[in-house]
Symmetry: C2
Subunit: 288 residues, 2 copies
């Protein structure tokens, strides 16, 4: 019987800390503000936005919405981002992507000021994660949510073997870099990996971010293992499932995050944490 | 008896290709130019510079030296770099580091225009390697030299297990990212790795970049393995040695690079390749 690493517990502890910090910021005259930039009305974006706004309210972060038509030109969007960059009342920006087809994703995301890049989408944020430095931009929220769960539940990382399934810029690679920084020995697996089950079975920490139901079966697991299931998949009945066959894993492994109720729950709090950090940094730099 | 993966053979083939391409560039009116920026007269820098100038001459790249006093101010150096950025007669820049203590390394290296960053020192180049894209800056030359050797000797990478010893931004991490891009399954080991011998023994490709004589012994090796020894160490008698105990490895493994005569030999040719690419890109963009 594995310990279930619930996201809610991590979130509760994070939110308490954030609420305390936003109170302090407000007392000192700084209102921490997240700007949400959305083009059009995609249901996924709207759902995430509602969740973010609720979480923001809870921890004392103000949200400013910037909603534009889905057929907006790239130049107009770039101009709006430049305006937001100049606005020192906005500390962090969440830009919904994928962007509509008339817009060059790379040009737009790199227009954002790295110090406001709380979702880790700029090249500078990526270079920061890759270099293991903290002074440039922010890591992608989902990758950091994995690390926050490991930290909260005191899972040792130093000298441990970690296997990461997936090599995307949003989860696989950044979580690998962050595990490496904590002195884990990291193996990155992907669709071309041969005998993935053997490789993963040797891991003390297994991060599953393949995005396919049933990727991680019994053969991938061992009794000392901590499993972080990052994926959000939906089965034929529309039920939310991770990459891991939970019924197989739960009796075997040491500890595991559930889906739903695991990593996904923590991600929005990490976004808020980055906004609060950005507001604190902005306040510090004004004082200098 | 292992196949010895000699750097000279790789270099010869690279140089022939580069000489052909620089002839073509010159016929079309573009003289490919590498700018070398050096502060002071450190013996290491001077030795590397001599090697680079010789290699440049051989393949038809012109070198312009920018030599400044070691006590130059940061502002003065930044101004010189901005001048070089604006000079469209210079296609690539090699900046010797470490820089003197009065100069902030990060500020200076990121002042360089990414399209001239043939040594892969800017954050933008690093983000490019990390993202696996080729359109931004250049990867560090030593990391690419490892890949060039593997390519030249037709070592299969797809689905193979690669172990990298070392996690620096100059070799360990970039070579891991480049192996990943070639669809190898990559494990990154370092000083905190436990049972490194076991992990490495399972690898089909072993990249040793620890920087310590005798790191890789028999226990790390298997008969199907290709070993790339990146390190340049010197023993008590001043003799150049890699990380691998060559006498132990050579009877066991499938193939191995020697030290000296392996990776180090290829690095300068990679630098020239980047200059030629930068010159070709500059020519292409002028034509548009």
């Amino acid at each position: 019987m594995a310990e279930i690493l619930k996201g809610a517990e991590v979130t509760r502890s994070l939110n308490e800390d954030l609420a305390r910090r936003t109170r302090m910021l407000r007392e000192q005259g700084t209102e921490p503000v997240l700007g949400i930039v959305r083009l059009g009305e995609r249901p996924d974006d709207l759902a995430y936005e509602r969740g973010a706004m609720k979480r923001a309210e809870k921890v004392g972060v103000t949200v400013k919405q910037f909603v534009f038509p889905a057929d907006m030109t790239q130049d107009a969007l770039l101009e709006e981002i430049r305006k937001i960059n100049r606005d020192d009342q906005i500390h962090g920006v969440l830009l919904f992507r994928p962007l509509p087809p008339q817009i060059d994703d790379e040009a737009v995301r790199n227009e954002l000021a790295p110090e406001k890049d709380v979702d880790g989408i700029t090249d500078i944020s990526q270079a920061g994660v890759y270099a293991g430095t903290e002074d440039k931009g922010y890591p992608p929220c989902t990758a950091e949510a994995c690390m926050e769960i490991l930290r909260h539940y005191h899972i040792p990382l130093r000298g441990k073997n970690a296997a990461v399934i997936g090599r995307s810029q949003v989860i696989g690679k950044p979580v690998a870099m962050m595990l490496l920084r904590e002195n884990a020995t990291v193996t990155i697996c992907h669709t071309k990996t041969v005998k993935m089950d053997e490789i993963c079975r040797r891991a003390d920490i297994l991060i599953a971010a393949a995005g396919h139901i049933g990727t991680v079966t019994k053969e991938f697991l061992n009794p000392k293992q901590t499993v972080i299931d990052v994926a959000i998949n939906f089965d034929e009945e529309g039920k939310m499932k991770g990459d891991v066959v939970f019924e197989d894993a739960e009796p075997v492994v040491h500890s595991i995050t559930p889906v739903p109720g695991g990593v996904g729950t923590v991600t929005t709090s990490i976004l808020m944490k980055h906004v609060v950090e950005a507001a604190e940094r902005a306040q510090d730099s004004r004082r200098k």
